[in-house]
Subunit: 130 residues, 2 copies
DNA sequence: TGAATACTTGAGCAATAATGCAAATAACCG
DNA sequence: CGGTTATTTGCATTATTGCTCAAGTATTCA
């Protein structure tokens, strides 16, 4: 449970590199000024994670479809021309991230969007592209 | 040139899978209705590609930094605590996607944002997170 | 011209992630 | 119960990606 994947691999982010130019800074005040404005690493990671959700076309299509209708896994797979397994894997991921929720009706699992923000973000960029 | 990477792997998207439920559709009219609204595969791929740019913390930090100041590769690397090479690789990618531009001054290459939309999108999500 | 510096680039490695397959779970029905 | 169906899940495979290393290019300066 709670194995929310799609985690951006935090890590180094500030590991003294010896691959740096000798002078260290070409324009130190400018660098310092920007450094002071840099968001915290944790914030950066959260932002990247949000974008990562929509960085895969399968997930984009799933989220788009669910923004239009509540669908069971089977219909979603048929709609997208994907295997049930592939869809279920992605749904688990989205479930762990609390982006979708589901409702059990007999053996069917009806999925819908849980978090409005992501769908909102998707449609925003979608309109921009079209 | 023009080897714009970060391409989402288009592919199948509509390959008759035998892994589909027997009935084919639980709720055919609903599936058809959503199918009719589905954006074209090409559109979906473009959207995913846009999100993909910001799905990595290093690129998020680079784009944030460049949204604050024009910086040479060396200062950018120092600012982010990354190797020059790592930064340069990401800059090439962003260059190929026309998201950043650069200005040569002697041996220094000063990078800045070329496309406002991506920086805009980043700041939007950033504010939402903070 | 030659050394040094700033950056770019190609190859390759290690980590991630998307999907398929097969087994497991769960609900329904005879 | 036993069989069928809908979905989930673990594992394996393959593809992608971010980074390092080392070599290459270009520009400045002595």
């Amino acid at each position: 449970m709670a194995e929310a994947n799609l985690k951006v691999v935090s890590e180094p982010i500030a590991k003294a590199q010896d691959d740096v130019c000798e002078i260290l800074y070409v324009d130190e005040p400018r660098v310092k000024a920007v450094a002071a404005q840099m968001p915290a690493d944790e914030t950066i990671r959260q932002v990247a994670n949000i974008f990562k959700v929509l960085s895969d076309p399968t997930r984009v299509r799933i989220i788009f479809a669910l923004s239009r209708a509540e669908l069971c896994v089977c219909d979603l797979a048929a709609l997208l021309g994907l295997s049930i397994s592939a869809v279920s894997h992605q749904l688990r991921l989205l479930r762990n991230l609390r982006l979708v929720k589901y409702r059990k009706e007999g053996r069917l699992a009806y999925y819908s969007l849980d978090d409005d923000h992501t769908g909102q973000l998707l449609h925003e960029v979608l309109e921009h592209v079209q």
